[in-house]
C-alpha cells in the first residue's frame, strides 16, 4: 500500500512493501512507524484497516488532485464506521491489487465530478460492514450477542455488563469475522462526520514541502528523462543527431521513443533537458502542416447551417415557428481550444525488467495507467503494478495515459533502473488533449409579448468521444457534446421549457487532439445558452431574470439556485454607480448551479468585484470543501473566459508557456460568496459544474456595462473601452 500522507522515506518503505508486499507475506516492522503504512496489519475489510494504536486507515480508490475527494470519501466511510475521526488517515490501494482482488474497490477513475457521487453508496457500505464486524468480534470475545453492543468513536460498549473495548484491540479478530449479509445505511439526517465542514486530511505536508508529487519522486540510482514529441499534430521525426549531444554532461542515452518522439535519459533532469534542447532534430511536419485556427474556424462555420447533424431534441416544429415568428434573434458564438495547464507538468516514473514493470504516477485513472504500463511493457497485467501519487492538478488531463506509456518505454531502455520522465512546460503546452473547439448558432423566436416560442441551438465542432472513446458514441452521435442540454437526464438537463425546441450537433473534428477538460462541454454550452438568453431578454425588452423565470416554472431546482444568487446579489435593487450585473444558471454533473457577477469597466479594463454562486448538489458531504471547489471553479472558469486560448498555426499549438498562455492571477480574482442548497434526494458533483456559470455571469455583466455582446472567447481579444 502506498501511504498517501507519508514522507518520502516512509513512502519508499510503503511502496517497497507494496511491491513485494502483502501477497508474499513480506512484513515491514511497525517499529518503522511509516505513518500510514499498513503492511502487516490485517484489514477489517477492503476499505478499513485499524492498527493496534487505534489509527484508522481508510482506503481511497479515487485520486486526490486538490478537489478534496480523499477527505470526503473518508468522511463517508468514517460516518458508517463510527470511528474516531481524529484517528483517521488514508491510503491508496494499488490498481494491481484491485485487479487481483476482483475489483473490490471498483472504479479508480477520477473525473466528471464523480468521485463521491458515484461511490458514496458502496464506500459507506464498506464502513458499515467493518463496523458490524468489529462489534461482532468484541461480542464474541465477551460471549454476548452483538445486538447488545453499541459503538461510538471507536469504543465498543456492552452496557449490561459495563464492558468496553476499542476498535484497535478487536481489529485483528474482526478481520476473521464474516461480513454482514445485510447492511442498512444511516439516514443522512443522522450524519455526524459526513456533512460537516471538517478539515482536509492532506493539508499539512502541502505547507512544508514534504508532500511528494510525481515530479519529486526519487529512487537510489534513478535516471531522469526529458522528452520532445513532434509539435505538429500528425507529424513525426525526420532525423536527429544523437552524436551531437551524447557526450554532454550526464547523458546516458538518446532514445527514439516512437516515430514522433525523442527523449534524452541522463543522470539529472536538468542535464537531460539541456541535452534535449541542444539535440538537432528535424521534424517531418506531416499532413496537417497547413492547418491554422482560421482554417478550423472555417471548417466549423460550415457546420452551422449544414444538413448533417445529430439531433438531441426536436420538440414541436422549430423550423415553422422560427419562419412564422414576428421577431427572430440569431447569434453565432465560438469557443477556442484550451490547455489544462496543470501546475505539475506530466510525469511518470517506471522501472522495467523482463519479468516485472512498475510505474509511479500522478493519474486520474490508476487502472488505465496500469493497463497502459502493461501494454507498453509487453507484460501481463499481473506482472505490473502502478502506484498512485497525489496530483499537482488534474482537470481531466491526467485521465490520459500518454506520459505513462512513454515512461515505461524509456524504462525498457535501461532495465532494472528507475527512470523518471518529466515533461517541460513547453511539452505540456504542445501536447495536450485540448478543450475541444466549437461554434454555436443560436436562433430564437419571440412572440409579441416577449415569450420565447422557439429556439434552435446548432452546435458545430469537435467531439471528444470520437477521438478519445469512440466506443462510447451512440449511433455516431457524441452525447457529451450536449452536456447540460438534455431533456430529462439526472446528469444535467435543460432548465427551460420552450415549446418548439431543436438542439443538434454538426460534428466537425479538426486534427487537434481533444480531451475532457474540467467542466468539459458544459462550459461553452452554458455560455451559448445563458448569454443568448440575455440577448433574447434584451430583444424582448424584459429583465434577464424575469425572462428566464417565465421559462423555468417546471424546473424548480434550477430556479431555486438562480433565485438564490439573484436575491443575494440584490438583483431587485440597482447596483452601485458604475457597477453592473449579470447572471447565469445551468445544471451539470448532477448538480444545479447559478452565478451572479458584479463588475465594472474602468478605462477599458474589466474589474470583477464580486461573484455570488449557488449550488444544489443534492447531498452535501463537506460544505467547506464545496466552498473551495466553487471558489476554484471561478478561477478556472474565469481564466478560460478571460485568457484561455490555444491558437493553431502550421498544424501546431502556438502557445508554449504561461507568458503566452495567460491564466487568471490573484489580482483579478473577485470575492466569491458561496451558497449551498442541498435539497436532498440525489447526489451531484461539485468539482466542475460551477465553472460553466462563471463566464456567462461576467459576459452578461459586461454587456450591461458596455453594450458589447461578446460572442467569441476569450475576452482578451476584445476591446471593452
Amino acid at each position: 500500500m502506498i501511504a498517501v500522507k507519508a514522507s518520502r522515506r516512509s513512502f519508499l518503505v510503503g511502496s517497497a512493501a507494496a511491491a513485494g508486499g502483502l501477497a508474499l507475506g513480506f512484513h515491514v516492522p511497525l517499529a518503522q512507524k511509516a505513518r500510514a503504512s499498513s503492511a502487516g496489519v490485517p484489514e477489517v475489510n477492503a476499505w478499513v484497516l485499524i492498527k493496534p494504536d487505534e489509527t484508522v486507515v481508510i482506503r481511497i480508490a479515487r485520486s486526490e488532485m486538490g478537489q478534496g475527494t480523499l477527505t470526503g470519501l473518508a468522511q463517508l466511510v468514517a460516518e458508517e464506521l463510527e470511528c474516531d475521526w481524529s484517528k483517521v488517515t488514508t491510503e491508496y490501494p494499488t490498481p494491481g491489487q484491485n485487479v487481483a482482488r476482483n475489483r473490490v474497490w471498483r472504479n479508480f477513475s477520477t473525473g466528471g465530478s464523480r468521485g463521491i457521487r458515484e461511490s458514496h453508496d458502496y464506500v459507506r457500505q464498506g464502513g458499515a460492514a467493518a463496523r458490524e464486524m468489529l462489534i461482532a468480534a468484541a461480542a464474541a470475545q465477551w460471549g454476548v450477542p452483538a445486538s447488545q453492543c453499541t459503538v461510538a468513536k471507536g469504543v465498543i460498549t456492552h452496557s449490561a455488563s459495563g464492558r468496553t473495548t476499542t476498535y484497535g484491540k478487536v481489529a485483528e479478530a474482526a478481520s476473521k469475522q464474516k461480513p454482514p449479509e445485510k447492511i442498512v445505511l444511516k439516514d443522512t439526517k443522522d450524519w455526524k462526520i459526513a456533512g460537516q465542514p471538517l478539515a482536509r486530511l492532506d493539508t499539512i505536508d502541502k505547507l512544508t514541502g514534504k508532500q511528494i508529487y510525481g515530479a519529486d519522486l526519487a529512487f537510489p540510482g534513478m535516471l531522469n528523462a526529458a522528452i520532445k514529441a513532434c509539435p505538429h499534430f500528425g507529424g513525426k521525426i525526420a532525423s536527429y543527431d544523437a552524436e551531437a549531444v551524447s557526450s554532454m554532461p550526464g547523458v546516458r542515452k538518446v532514445v527514439r521513443v516512437d516515430d514522433a518522439t525523442v527523449a534524452v535519459i541522463a543522470t539529472t533532469w536538468w542535464q537531460a533537458k539541456t541535452a534535449l534542447d541542444a539535440l538537432p532534430i528535424t521534424w517531418e511536419e506531416g499532413p496537417n502542416k497547413t492547418i491554422t485556427s482560421a482554417w478550423i474556424a472555417e471548417m466549423l462555420k460550415g457546420g452551422l447551417d449544414s444538413e448533417d447533424a445529430f439531433i438531441l431534441t426536436n420538440t414541436g416544429d422549430t423550423k415553422a415557428a422560427l419562419s412564422s415568428s414576428d421577431k427572430v434573434v440569431s447569434a453565432v458564438y465560438s469557443f477556442p481550444y484550451q490547455n489544462h495547464a496543470t501546475m505539475e507538468p506530466m510525469n511518470a516514473t517506471a522501472r522495467y525488467t523482463p519479468e516485472r514493470c512498475e510505474v509511479w504516477a500522478p493519474t486520474q485513472n490508476g487502472e488505465a495507467s496500469l493497463a497502459a504500463a502493461a501494454e507498453a511493457a509487453g507484460l501481463p497485467v499481473q506482472q505490473c503494478e502502478m502506484y498512485k501519487l497525489h496530483l499537482g492538478g488534474g482537470f481531466g488531463r491526467r485521465g490520459m495515459q500518454d506520459y505513462v506509456r512513454q515512461a515505461v518505454l524509456l524504462a525498457k531502455e535501461v532495465p532494472g533502473t528507475h527512470v523518471k520522465l518529466l515533461w517541460s512546460r513547453e511539452e505540456d503546452m504542445l501536447h495536450g488533449f485540448y478543450h475541444p473547439t466549437t461554434q454555436c448558432k443560436m436562433t430564437g423566436a419571440l412572440d409579441k409579448d416577449g415569450n420565447l416560442t422557439a429556439l434552435h441551438m446548432r452546435i458545430s465542432g469537435q467531439s471528444i468521444l470520437a477521438s478519445v472513446r469512440p466506443e462510447a458514441m451512440v449511433g455516431g452521435m457524441d452525447p457529451i457534446v450536449f452536456q447540460g442540454l438534455t431533456a430529462n437526464s439526472p446528469e444535467g438537463h435543460l432548465g427551460y421549457t420552450i415549446p418548439n425546441l431543436r438542439i443538434d450537433h454538426a460534428m466537425r473534428n479538426p486534427p487537434v487532439p481533444p480531451g475532457f477538460w474540467r467542466g468539459v462541454n458544459l462550459n461553452q454550452n452554458a455560455i451559448y445558452m445563458e448569454c443568448f438568453m440575455d440577448e433574447l431578454a434584451r430583444a424582448a425588452g424584459i429583465d434577464p431574470l424575469a425572462f428566464r423565470r417565465k421559462l423555468m416554472a417546471k424546473h424548480p431546482k434550477h430556479l431555486a439556485v438562480l433565485d438564490a444568487v439573484a436575491e443575494r446579489i440584490g438583483w431587485s435593487n440597482a447596483p452601485a454607480k458604475g457597477v453592473f450585473r449579470g447572471l447565469g444558471q445551468i445544471m451539470g454533473f448532477g448538480s444545479y448551479v447559478a452565478a451572479a457577477a458584479e463588475i465594472s469597466i474602468e478605462k477599458g479594463q474589466l474589474k470583477m468585484h464580486r461573484i455570488v454562486a449557488a449550488t444544489d448538489p443534492g447531498h452535501m458531504v463537506n460544505p467547506a470543501q464545496i466552498e473551495r471547489q466553487v471558489e476554484g471553479s471561478f478561477v478556472y472558469g474565469l481564466s478560460a473566459a478571460l485568457y484561455g486560448e490555444c491558437t493553431i498555426k502550421d498544424g501546431r499549438v502556438e502557445q508554449e508557456n504561461f507568458d503566452t498562455y495567460e491564466v487568471l492571477r490573484l489580482a483579478e480574482m473577485p470575492a466569491v460568496e458561496t451558497i449551498i442548497i442541498p435539497s436532498g434526494g440525489f447526489w451531484g458533483g461539485v468539482g466542475e459544474p460551477t465553472i460553466a456559470v462563471a463566464a456567462p455571469a461576467v459576459l452578461n455583466a459586461i454587456y450591461a456595462a458596455t453594450g458589447k455582446t461578446i460572442r467569441t472567447l476569450p475576452l482578451k481579444n476584445h476591446k471593452l473601452a
Binding site: G66, L207, A218, E344, E631, G632, F634, A667
Partner: protein, 151 residues
C-alpha cells in the same frame, strides 16, 4: 564547485554553474519543496528566498548566488511548519492540489517581511504566482491573517 548557504547550512554542490538554483535544490540537495512549473519565472512555484527576497529559482543560475547569500527554501522557512504564513495557510485551508502552494507561501512570507501590514492592493501587486486550482481568495485572506498574527 559552487558553495551555497541553504537553510543555514553551507553546502558544496558539484554542478555546472549554469544550472538553475531550482535544479540544484531539487536534484543535488533533495529539497523538492520548490517546484518546477514553467521554467521561465512566470508561475512562481519555484520561489525561494535569497537574503529574504522572494526569488524565482528556475531562472537563477547557481553561479548568480554568492556563497554568503542566505538561501531559504520552504523546508527551512520554519522547523515545524509554524511560520505565521504556514499557520494562516492551515487555518484557512488554502491548499487544494498544493503544488504551487510552497512557492505561494514563500512569496507571501517575503512580502510580509518587506511589508508587515500589506493592503489588499499590496498583496495583489506582489503575489503574482499562478494557482490553477483557484486558491486565490484564501491566499488573500490567509496573508491578511498572517500579517495580524505576526505583528
Amino acid at each position: 564547485m559552487p558553495k551555497l548557504n541553504i537553510n543555514g547550512t553551507e553546502r558544496d554542490v558539484d554542478v555546472d554553474e549554469n544550472t538553475p538554483l531550482l535544479w540544484v535544490l531539487r536534484e543535488q540537495l533533495g529539497l523538492t519543496g520548490a517546484k518546477y512549473g514553467c521554467g521561465v519565472a512566470q508561475c512562481g512555484a519555484c520561489t525561494v528566498h535569497i537574503d529574504g527576497v522572494a526569488t524565482r529559482s528556475c531562472v537563477m543560475p547557481v553561479s548568480g548566488v554568492a556563497p554568503d547569500q542566505k538561501i531559504v527554501t520552504i523546508e527551512g522557512l520554519s522547523p515545524d511548519g509554524s511560520h505565521p504564513v504556514q499557520r494562516a495557510w492551515l487555518a484557512h485551508e488554502v491548499a487544494q492540489c498544493g503544488y504551487c502552494q510552497t512557492g505561494m507561501i514563500m512569496a507571501a512570507a517575503s512580502l510580509l517581511q518587506q511589508k508587515p501590514n500589506p493592503t489588499d492592493d499590496d498583496i495583489k501587486a506582489e503575489i503574482t504566482n499562478i494557482c490553477r486550482c483557484g486558491t486565490y481568495p484564501r491566499v488573500l485572506a490567509a496573508i491578511k491573517d498572517a500579517s495580524k498574527n505576526a505583528g
